[in-house]
């Protein structure tokens, strides 16, 4: 197996092996000197010309050692036995390239994480280290010199989702002087935050702090808004995405519309607003979701518009001063070229109907948190009056149920993180505006944020009652005197250690946050992955929370899990910073770990065609062969392993490399070379 390719200096490699002590981390358990001696002696016939050990290979001295040997001893391959490649692979590769050796001709084997730290027996640890070095030596012989792929970065950025996180990202990037497209599904940007009344813990009004940001987006020269629009298709790769967007027909010509609102006023059709007013308010068939909507242009809802139902009416058209109404308008497909994408598509509220015993949808006076937000909002259906479903009665007692659909293995295991504070906020608003007796039914109170616990203390002092226990059911089936006409909250009071029935007039379910119902499709569309719960997966949960595994696609806000407003805003900015740094670099170099197809060997069987989640594999109908777009390829190697003709090869992880490593690990290389099979 030592002579099958011509890359070798006079027929054989000159390999240097470097064994790191890592202080005592490795040397304490592994006999590093013995390992180095053995490598030189036993693997000499496999091309090992130098084997050294050093206190800290990653130190500048250690690196210089390698550089020196490459220059003086003419090493063609380098094996470093030290820590995990995830720590220092880059370090040693750079050292090699400084000495003029292609960085990818260096192999790092982890005898710290995989040997010295997990093995107590010195002798055994030393043996295992030898085996691993032997594997690395065999593998490195088949490494090929590689050059990183360079791709140019398009300056424009696409932001999906016009909630507070998306808005923040858009503004940051636009203010840095780069063009931004922001796509929003609803007629206006603003997201969930626009629906809220007050924001915890400071209780400043959501609209007051949000609307300035919204109008800034609306007027920013670098920002192009595409509201009432959805992403249809995404092609390309980091720096060079091509995105198709469907702009739904508004039936209103935005060039002519002044947003005067006369059409809304004149529209005879009143419909329940199940989007912005979450079903407790009404809107017209032509509407803007709320007063401060950005953009100001209304939308005609063709499912409810009388004209679309019966073919007559057109009241709006008659009264529109600028003839902006256009019933002939159709959906429009817009194609954008962008370099980076920020996904800020937010969350859905847990559907409380899924817990029938809590009565939402069955019992009139059970409300969800979002319904309550709208009710409490001065611009909402009740102009801020907190009343029961009948529309006028003010509740005398209100129960707030925490963790509805969260921290519950029947629904979602995770904590929705905002419900505690939200519920405390509700408690405050209720007692402030109605003087009603408020009960909080909680499992634990979690107030870790800035000024959160202070707010909790404040609410405690407002004589809100806290019952610690999970609510069993909310029912109107009366049993005891005084229960008639009330909702009874049946709960185990775990502090008092007994069952309690608490009659209240109104129940608010603090429903948890869930991934968007179409999160999976979106993830697939953008080629990123979801956790089992359905939240988008970060590249690294701690160190890279706004990047994804797909280069050029970033995430911000609740897409990656429940977050409050400050956290979402911070993530918006963080994502923007990542995008801007890419744009500033102008071009990006990608790991050259890629798959490629040998055209002559490809039979066009099309086995591989459906295997690539990044659609990097195309079938050429003319040539009847499959082809790989190396910029799209993420290097997983699935197609390499799948190709029945062996026509696909993967750099960095070739069959030859892996098969050789297997033989090395099994120490076949110590036997007579005759028994060494020829890797393909």
């Amino acid at each position: 197996m030592s002579t099958e390719n011509g890359r070798k200096e006079n027929g054989r490699e000159r390999i240097g092996v470097y064994v790191c002590h890592c202080g005592t981390n490795i040397a304490g358990v592994v006999d590093v000197k013995e390992v180095a001696r053995w490598s030189k002696e036993q693997l000499g016939h496999r091309g090992v010309v130098i084997a050294r050990d050093d206190k800290f290979m990653c130190s500048s001295l250690g690196q210089e050692l390698i550089e020196h040997d490459i220059k003086k001893e003419g090493l063609t391959r380098v094996v470093v036995a030290a820590c995990s490649p995830h720590l220092h692979e880059k370090t040693f590769r750079t050292a090699c390239s400084r000495a003029g050796l292609n960085p990818y001709l260096c192999e790092l084997t982890s005898i710290r994480e995989q040997v010295s730290w997990v093995t107590s027996d010195k002798k055994v640890a030393t043996e295992k280290s030898k085996a691993m070095i032997s594997g690395a030596v065999e593998r490195v012989r088949y490494h090929e010199p590689l050059d990183p792929l360079k791709v140019p970065i398009n300056e424009s950025t696409l932001i999906v989702g016009g909630g507070i996180a998306g808005i923040q990202s858009a503004l940051e990037i636009a203010n840095a002087g780069h063009p931004v497209y922001i796509v929003e599904r609803e007629p206006s940007i603003g997201g969930h935050m626009a629906q809220f009344d007050k924001t915890f813990p400071t209780l400043d009004c959501a609209a007051c702090i949000l609307t300035p940001r919204m109008s800034e987006v609306g007027t920013h020269p670098n920002i192009h808004m595409l509201t009432w629009s959805e992403v249809e298709q995404v092609d390309g790769y980091v720096g060079n995405f091509t995105v198709t967007i469907r702009q739904k027909a508004r039936y209103i010509n935005t060039d002519d519309c002044t947003g005067c609102g006369i059409c809304v006023e004149k529209c005879p059709k009143k419909v329940i607003d199940s989007e912005f007013e979450v079903g407790i308010g009404y809107r017209k068939a032509v509407y803007t979701p709320f007063a401060q909507a950005v953009p100001k242009y209304p939308v005609i809802d063709d499912e409810n518009c009388i004209y679309f139902e019966k073919g007559t009416c057109k009241a709006c058209e008659k009264f529109c001063p600028t003839n902006a109404i256009d019933f002939e308008q159709e959906d429009e497909l817009i194609t954008l070229e962008v370099g980076n994408i920020v996904l800020a598509t937010g969350f859905d509220l847990f559907d409380a109907r899924r817990i029938p015993q809590y009565g939402y949808g069955r019992l009139a006076n059970v409300f969800t948190s979002l319904e309550f937000e709208r009710m409490a909002n001065a611009a909402g259906p009740t102009e801020g009056a907190i009343v029961m479903r009948d529309g006028h009665t003010v509740p005398e007692s209100v129960g707030i149920v925490h963790c509805v659909g969260s921290r519950d293995r029947n629904y979602n295991n995770y904590c929705s993180s905002i419900c505690c504070m939200q519920s405390l906020k509700f408690a405050h608003l209720v007692s402030e505006r109605t003087g009603a007796q408020v009960y909080n039914f909680y499992i634990d109170i979690r107030t870790p944020g800035k000024d959160f616990d202070e707010f909790y203390q404040r609410v405690l002092e407002e004589e809100t009652l806290f019952v610690r226990g999970k609510v069993a059911e909310v029912t109107d089936a009366t049993r005891l005197p005084g229960e008639e006409g009330k909702l009874i909250v049946q709960v185990e009071d775990t502090l008092a250690g007994k069952q309690r029935r608490i009659p209240v007039d109104m129940v608010i379910l603090s429903a948890g946050l869930e991934p968007r119902r179409d999160a999976d499709d979106v993830a697939r569309q953008f080629g990123i992955s979801c956790s089992s719960a359905g939240w988008f997966t970060e590249k690294h949960p701690k160190l890279d929370p706004v990047a994804t595994m797909t280069e050029g696609v970033f995430i911000a806000g609740c897409v990656s899990g429940p977050k409050d407003i400050p956290a979402s805003v911070a993530q918006g900015s963080a994502a923007a910073a990542r995008v801007v740094s890419y744009i500033e670099q102008g071009e990006l170099s990608l790991e050259p770990v890629r798959a490629s197809i040998e055209e002559a060997m490809c039979s066009g069987c099309r086995i591989c065609n459906d295997l690539c989640p990044y659609n990097a594999i195309d079938f050429d109908e003319q040539l009847m062969v499959s082809e790989i777009n190396s910029a799209l390829c993420q290097g997983c190697g699935t197609c390499v392993a799948a190709c029945p003709a062996g026509a696909i090869s993967g750099t960095g992880f070739s069959d030859a490399q892996v098969l050789a490593q297997i033989e090395g690990l099994l120490m076949l290389n110590l036997e007579e070379p005759a028994v060494m099979a020829e890797p393909v």
């Binding site: 994480e113 995989q114 997990v118 990123i528 392993a641 490593q661 297997i662």
Partner: protein, 157 residues
């Protein structure tokens, strides 16, 4: 299990989850038997049955394949392909007189260092119970010196 038999095993790891789990096992100083020698792939989807057959025919007593939990693949869904390949491979090697238990598929996320260590420990015990494979085509393997049984224990880092 017969005494003194120390199996040699090959383990394939995913660069994004199980390899990092192995790193984590290291940093949290979890002790586990040294018999499994790991190979890093970019993804369990890179796992080619040829590798497994190669290992078994070349002297390995067992092969462990590890990847991200279903639905959490770094490359979205490639671990399902690995799973299907292993399922089919097991059926075939069973006909070849190799106990399918010698090939094991394990899911381990980057956070599951201890879990991975446990799985390795169990697998080593299972293979010890099965005894050496010593496939006829395999060249004489140099056995590890006899070592005492190692228990998985956690030592504060």
């Amino acid at each position: 299990m017969e005494n003194g038999f120390e199996p040699v095993m090959i383990g394939f790891t995913c660069n994004w989850c199980s390899y990092r789990a192995a790193d984590l096992a290291g940093t949290s100083r979890v002790k586990y038997p040294p018999n499994v020698r790991l190979i890093r792939l970019m993804c369990s989807g890179r796992l080619d049955p040829t590798f497994v057959l190669k290992a078994l025919s070349a002297g390995a007593d067992g092969v462990m394949i590890t990847g991200c939990h279903p639905g959490e693949c770094h490359y979205l869904e490639q671990n399902y392909k690995a799973m299907r390949r292993v399922m089919l491979l097991k059926r075939t090697i069973a006909q070849m007189g190799i106990e399918p238990e010698r090939v094991k598929l394990v899911w381990a996320s980057a956070a599951e260092g201890i879990h991975l260590a446990h799985e390795i420990t169990n697998f080593v015990d299972e293979i010890k119970a099965l005894g050496p494979l010593d496939w006829p085509t395999a060249p004489r393997r140099r056995a590890l010196e006899e070592i005492e049984q190692l228990e998985v224990e956690e030592v504060p880092a």
